[in-house]
Amino acid sequence: MASPDDLQFQEFEEAAELLSADPGASTLSTSASNTITTAAAGGGGGEEVKLDLSEDEEGQEESSELLGGQKPAGGFWTFEYYQSFFNVDTEQVLDRVKGSVMPLPGRNFIKHHLRSSPDLYGPFWICVTLVFSVVISGNLSTFLSEMGNPSYHYRPQFHRVTIAAVVIFMYAWLVPIGLWGFLTWRQGAERQVGGYSFLETVCVYGYSLFIYIPTSVLWIIPFEWLRWTLILFAMVISGSVLVLTFWPAVRDDTKVMSVATVVTIVVLHTLLAIGCKMYFFQIAVHVPTTAPTSPPLHITVATTPH
């Protein structure tokens, strides 16, 4: 079977001439060869030959892209360009989510789970779900912690959706851009550092945020030690997904740069987790006075600054 690189069609007229000169020449596919040979033999089917060849050429282009795995179809103004980023099945998405929750040493998320077909479905919807789960869980935990307080009036705190969306989407999209740019620059400078494509970086970051969704739901339980245990657990898991993915890429770099890169990744991830916890899951402290005649004094600590 000829490899796709051998079948290069430069001119339709040249190929048609070649086929008409030698009708017995091997053609691309059985269905196309019949029409080509009959049309060429008939002599008057020049138009038909052109149509068939163009169809085959698109088919060949498609298969070479599938084999290459990374080139999307069409220009960035076509719908098909973006459709190629959503070319995933339910099974694949579930498999990638599982891989992000259970990082095993030696299993690079990109090489093992993405396998050259990164998608944007996972990162986008995981970010959206995380935004709403953090806001809703934070609201519920505030409500539960203030339930005994008679002067507390429940507030939906809907403005937090905007804040959470901005923070989480900026983290999930700007940090991969910076990291990808940095790795590409190092790859250009050092020539030994392996790089990942932009989509793969975004994909890893998006899927690594998945563990925070159940963690944020479990944060409703109002025990501080449990919350810190959960956040440490989640940070270890998602941090190790990121580290296991990016360590092989920067390992060949100078010691200082590779360690600095990995440390930066971990620190940014930690900042996101702790920042979300501090802002959305605030604990209110009430100090009621012991004297029953004076009105109870309520001091609320760490409320929203505005």
Partner: protein
């Protein structure tokens, strides 16, 4: 070689001899008879400019009402998909946004969603879900999907109206339990109704990928309905 070429060209030999203009007559009359009245011959197509305004409005209202009934009893029908319109979704969105107003007015920045926020969530949410389903390879058209998602907000709007009535009676635990049951039931109904219409347009191995954002969308709207707390 000449004989082979001759035989090969024989299937096409007859084509050059056919002269269509003489053997097959192409005359005829293709105008459709409109009716017994000959005065209408100048108005071959049905013109909606001549009908009374009430008739025009009632026709659109009847179409919207028919779709509401389709949402009430969802079954896989293509009628809602074929004649899409966005009047119903607009009406429902405005009603829902208006009903969500007037809560917790003493501290606005910590309150429920503003009118514009409800609009943004409903319309941008629907657009994003439609884009998502099209990017995953769905066959439904853009406006048909917007129409379905918008109409299926109806159970949640009804639940919002019920919640406001319940809140007039009181806002204790019992009222919260009642509201929770009502909102959960209508959220399930909305999701079930919209997937009944949208599920067929997706390839089989991606149905869950399309249904999950719809679930999330109605969950967020249900959350907004449930957490509405009146000002005191």
């Amino acid at each position: 070689m000449a004989a082979a070429a001759d035989e090969a060209s024989r299937p096409f030999a007859g084509l050059s001899d056919v002269s269509i203009s003489e053997d097959i007559p192409v005359e005829g009359d293709i105008s459709v008879p409109v009716g017994p009245s000959t005065r209408r011959r100048n108005d071959d197509e049905f013109s909606t400019l001549d009908e009374p305004v009430r008739e025009t409005i009632l026709r659109d209202l009847r179409a919207v009402g028919k779709k509401f009934i389709h949402v009430l009893y969802p079954k896989r029908s293509s009628a809602l998909l074929r004649d899409w319109d966005l009047w119903g979704p607009l009406l429902l969105c405005v009603t829902l946004a208006l009903l969500l107003q007037g809560g917790a007015a003493d501290s606005d920045y910590q309150g429920g969603p503003q009118f514009a926020e409800v609009f943004v969530i409903v319309w941008f949410g629907s657009i994003i879900i439609t884009l998502n389903s099209k990017l995953l390879g769905g066959t439904i058209s853009f406006f048909q999907s917007l129409c379905v998602l918008g109409y299926c907000i109806m159970p949640l709007t009804a639940a919002m109206a019920v919640c406001r009535i319940v809140l007039v009676a009181g806002s204790g635990t019992v009222s919260f339990a009642v509201r929770l049951v009502v909102v959960t039931a209508s959220f399930g109904w909305s999701t079930f109704a919209s997937t009944a219409f949208l599920a067929d347009s997706q390839p089989a191995n991606r149905k869950a990928l399309v249904v999950y954002p719809v679930f999330l969308f109605y969950f967020v709207i249900g959350w907004m309905v449930l957490t509405f707390s009146p000002s005191q």
